[in-house]
Amino acid sequence: MTDKKTDKETIPAKGKVGVYICYCGGNISDHVEVEKVRESMEKIPGVEVARTDMFMCSDPGQEMIMQDLKSGTVDRVVVASCAPSLHETTFRSAISRAGANPYIYEHANIREQVSWVHHGDQATDKAIRLVAAATAKAEGLKPLEPIRMEARQHVTVIGGGIAGLRTAKDLADCGVAVALIEKSPFLGGQIAQLERLAPTGDPAADIVTELAGEVLGDPGITVHTCSLVETFNGYVGNFTLGVKKRPPDTDCEKLSSLNPSGRTPGEFIPFKGFYPESVAARAEELSIETGVVVLATGFKSYTPRRGEYGYAEFPEVITLPELIRIMAENKTTDNCLEINGRQVRSMAMIHCVGSRQIPGIHPEDESGNFNEYCSRTCCSATLDTAGTIRQSYPGTRIFELYRDIRTYGRGQEELYEQAAKNKVVFLRFEADESPEVIRSNDHDDFPLRVKVKDVLTFGEEVEVPVDLVVLATGMEPNNVSELVDMMKLPVGPDRFLLEVHPKLRPVELPVGGILLAGTCQAPMDVGEACSAAAAAAVKAAVLLGRGYVELDPFVAEVDLEKCRGTGACVEACLNEGALNLVEMEVDGEMVQRAQVTSALCWGCGACVAVCSENAIDINGWTLKQYEAMVDIIVADEATA
């Protein structure tokens, strides 16, 4: 055990270890000779006391530990009992109650990993080794404090669509100051492009007006339209954003065509959005100090390629958003729908345009991308529109060509059924046998025909004569490459922003303090986007609620005496920014040394492995502690 001795010399705080071994009412003691373990522990130098109890987790058991701490008999604690998942927190809190630092604690698992799986003498021998190893680790423990960072009670929301508005309002309602940054002159995002929301039928304008009104009326929220984030610095609780406020040229044109001087701020302009304020004449730059950033950058509608189902080749082929807009702007009371001055007696709606693309079947876009995902909302939107048309214009026949009808949500299957009741005819195609849109013969009554091999008709080819073809286009993420680069945001293979874990941390990014809300993460409908936005808001509120952010103390620490500034650790670090080389003065010389930004350190230890000087380690889980444990395990005598 010479190695161990050397280790001890390098650890300044030499521990006085107390070892507490549990019988677990026979669960342990039936297979492990607990008293023998105790005797062995007593022999170990550095172990001040070794005690046993029928139930160490019971009040008397905990009391015993607390007494030893309070009396100063021990300053390191090892409990040998069941799995740490069950009682590690119990004992840590007992240690805290005794006025000691909870991190001077080590747990030895001699139930699940010894007495329940081994029997006889060997069980006892193994228990002795494991407890001794824990003791060796405990000697190297030092008191730790959770990392606490002051956090600004301020959140910046990027994106003024429905998700951004929802997040902003929720946080303001909880007393957090919010800056809302929107690049266009309008609030409401993509919802402003809709007439009514499926399946509830809520008018989109009402929803936007209500929420935007609440946001603008809230003194806790500052809205910046025509604004772009240009710079980004800092870490959770302390970010600084540089924002430039000026409408892009295209928006300026749009604005002037709307005659902004004639518009009152606070008005909803159909297919534009909620118009909150007049736009500043000249560019402005501002800096926002914030604690948490919520990304609500939304989606854009897929634009079909030229020739995709005849799009841009035949004027009779339009997208669903285009149809919705045309219908809203030309409301008639005719028997037939009228589009661009032509009566629509028959129309085909084709699903999955720009969604569910399959490599090898569908062509990629100019950047080599496929939209392999389902856009989630188009089925309902298409069925809802079809139903509306059939009710308002009974003279217009509708055919829907689909792959799978995905009316998954509440009230959506009813939409599908309602469309069927309204005599919409459904045709089904396989991905590799997409419908074809062709020009009819001159003598034909209808300008276009849609040809499809219909799965429902036993694979027969069916032709539908139509006046109009509507493409149910999917969602694509907005291009936020600048933010992605600036904030180091992870992007998934589908090009949407990628959360840490869809179930454990669904609205969080690996970058601490940056959250996701709405369709920048994945296709969602309005309700789902609002849910995600509120979930992001609650995470922000949790982060900022106490005025500080508290993080685990298990982070890397550099031993400056050993560090030679090679930078190997910086290179190995998995979370960019957590480790940096900084200039500092050592013995009157300016040298490079590694420095940990605790707020960003995950404590994974990737840096530990690469330091040739052993100058960096993870607090609470040091390499030396592991080496000491291995020494115990390999020793000839368990407690030598």
């Binding site: 039936d30 005690r51 109890d53 029928m54």
Partner: protein, 115 residues
């Protein structure tokens, strides 16, 4: 001392009353337990020598195959039976080595309180 004895007595009497109350149910369960014990014994006997698959055991014991599997699953969970190699479409089962008899039959040693 007499106080605790009195308590013990009361406890016993209360237990007796409770058993009386649930007499019929206890009778039914006892009958089930008897069947279960016989089944477990029969299955274990089958496994004693060379082990066996579920259909084999079912054939030999006359217990239905789904029930045999049920007992095997349970006995496996309590460590008495282990799975062996595959035999056709079925797995063979054997009695566990070092079957943790003591867990099931041993008494917890409550006398070693060292406080």
């Amino acid at each position: 001392m007499s106080q605790t004895e009195k308590q013990k007595k009361e406890q016993k009497a209360a237990m007796k009353r409770l058993r009386q109350e649930r007499k019929q149910k206890i009778k039914d369960i006892a009958a089930t337990v008897k069947t279960q014990k016989e089944a477990v014994k029969a299955i274990k006997e089958q496994l004693q020598n060379h082990g066996g698959t579920v259909p084999q055991i079912a054939r030999e014991t006359g217990i239905s195959a789904d029930k045999v599997l049920w007992y095997i699953a349970a006995l496996k969970k309590y460590g008495e039976i282990s799975e062996a190699e595959k035999d056709g479409g079925y797995f063979r089962y054997i009695l566990s080595e070092g079957s943790p008899e003591e867990i099931f039959n041993g008494q917890p040693d409550g006398s070693q309180d060292t406080k």
